[in-house]
């Protein structure tokens, strides 16, 4: 990027311009994604709970986030009397900064990265794990016991889940032999069985463990113990209102997209479609090829984020001891086994066998997903039920109205 600007501006200014443009683009991406993700979250939750979700503001309620934003900005900026004012005001920005800085090392396409770090995967882990600092400080500075409980829970949870998450990142890194996310992305060029997730059974399992740990470290349900409404009012952001409150949500959705991007780069082929056997930037040129790359990459991020939303509205919240036990008793040993397994696989298994296994994994999993998807289209619901009968899984039971009539 500085090379492009060096044609227009002299030395110190081209670096500054490249930095400013990259930061602006990333901020726009986080803001725009959050804008749409909050709308999507409401729509998804609505549909899952048999409601419509937002419908009034704009087409399909798309401008709901804008209305929310205006409401949040116009709210009173309020801090409790006993609060530590300085820390109370600082905490939301700290949380947002951590999730923003994580994007600096995330390549959106081949070479399309704010800073092509050699240790990008490690850097992202380091930065995303420090998001918890803002949450913990918010919990402390609010001078409210609900907030404090939320902060303490968050600290315990995130520090524990960091360990299996980092071990699961090391699994594809062992396969790739580099920590540079751009290189890891370019290595998975071509058909979808080249993706790291299909490399061997261990990386296949590692993807799911990584995704669960990433969900937990984004404090998303079913792991949202830090803001459990039924026990802690709203957890660490109980005392926050207005624009500061919305910074926490910007940070949460930002880190959701960051870990989804990390997952798709490490496991799901990064910016490659999986059905084009060449690198788009080499065939079409840097900018047109990267346009396709960015579209594919952002689509993959969105699929993973929608998966997180689906999980959130389908699963009940765990108890705090269950959350910690899941991590320390199951995920930690499993990720250790995966790490050793992937190393042994690369040392011991001959290349032909490994290739066959990756074909089996790729086609088996794709076929399984296709069967599941087709089976959802098959069942006719609603119209097929006769009058007085309920459709779908309630078939055979009489409707409530019918019962009341008797």
């Amino acid at each position: 990027m500085p090379e492009f600007w060096s044609q227009l501006l002299p030395y110190p200014w081209n670096v500054a311009a490249a930095g400013a443009v990259a930061a602006g683009l990333l901020f726009a991406f986080i803001g725009g994604s959050t804008f749409l993700a909050i709308w999507a979250e409401r729509k998804v939750s609505g549909r899952i709970q048999d409601r419509l979700g937002p419908t009034r503001v704009g087409p399909f309620g798309l401008l709901q986030s804008l209305a929310d934003g205006i409401k949040l900005i116009s709210k009173e900026d309020f801090a409790p009397d006993a609060a530590d004012r300085f820390l109370f005001k600082l905490a939301p920005y700290l949380a947002f900064c951590a999730s923003f800085v994580g994007f600096l090392a995330l390549p959106f396409g081949n070479g399309l990265v704010a800073e092509n770090l050699n240790v990008a995967a490690f850097f992202m882990l380091a930065v995303l794990s420090s998001e918890v600092f803002g949450v913990v400080l918010a919990g402390y500075a609010s001078a409210s016991k609900w907030s404090l409980f939320g902060g303490v829970r968050e600290a315990a949870q995130v520090v524990s889940y960091e360990v299996p998450r980092a071990m699961c990142v090391v699994v594809p890194v062992c396969v790739a032999g580099t920590l540079n996310l751009n290189t890891i992305g370019t290595q998975q060029v071509g058909w979808f069985w080249n993706w790291n997730i299909y490399h061997d059974p261990f990386t296949f399992v590692a993807f799911f463990i990584f995704f669960i740990c990433a969900t937990a470290s984004c404090k998303r349900a079913p792991f949202d113990l830090a803001e459990a409404e039924s026990e802690l009012v709203a957890g660490f952001h109980t005392e926050y209102s207005g624009i500061r409150w919305s910074y926490f949500f910007l940070a949460e959705y930002g880190s959701m997209f960051a870990v989804s991007g990390l997952a798709s780069l490490l496991f799901l082929g990064g910016w490659h479609t999986g059905v084009l056997p060449f690198e788009p930037t080499e065939r079409f040129g840097f900018w047109p090829g990267n346009l396709l790359n960015v579209a594919v990459f952002v689509a993959k991020c969105w699929v993973l984020v929608l998966l997180m939303m689906w999980l959130r509205w389908s699963l009940p919240r765990l108890r705090i001891d269950q959350v910690m036990m899941t991590c320390l008793q199951y995920f930690l040993p499993i990720s250790c086994v995966l790490l050793i397994g992937v190393c042994l696989w690369q040392l011991l298994v001959p290349a032909d066998v490994a290739q066959v296994v990756s074909y089996v994994l790729a086609f088996g999993w794709t076929g399984f997903l296709a069967v599941v998807f087709l089976s959802t289209l098959r069942t006719p619901t609603g119209a097929a039920a006769p009058a007085g009968q309920l459709p779908g899984v309630w078939a055979g039971q009489r409707a409530a109205a019918d019962l009341q009539a008797k």
Partner: protein, 190 residues
Amino acid sequence: MSLPVLLFAVVATVTACSALGVVLARNVVRMAVWLLFTLVGVSLLYFLLGAEFVGATQLIVYVGGTLILIVFGVMLTAQAPLREIRTRPAEWLVGGLVGALLFGLLVAVSYQIAFPPSTHALPSVAPLGLTFLGVTDASPTGDVTGVPNGVTVPRTPVAYLLPFEIVSVHLLVVLVGAAYLARAKRRVRS
């Protein structure tokens, strides 16, 4: 003034001011926050020097790990008598003296050591790691940083696998010991 120097000046000033903040603050949690800024500033200095791996390690170990544990401990234990820490005049005197001595020592040493050769490209993390394990030899060939001018240090092909393993086993022993000490004591059923 060139861009790296300007950035260094900004980052170093912020780091030094936050370090002063750690000393001057009275509230324990505020101290931890100033310490956060200090440690992040130090990692930014590493990034400015091009040592990305060290910078990221600084972030994950100190900011993501140690500092979270400090704040966690402070939040659980900070009651009224412990929350405010006042420094006595004698402590100011001793601390100031020690600090001034250390600063003088660092300045004196930093004027004696040689500048790193600017033409020599630094190896990236992977070759360094492989050298560390003795797989390949990518050790730098120029002058050694941190050695007075004119003194030549013999360089040998390095392989630190055995010391590395000894240190990691040592750390493992410490971890097991800590877990043993901190475990819930089983009550003897009478």
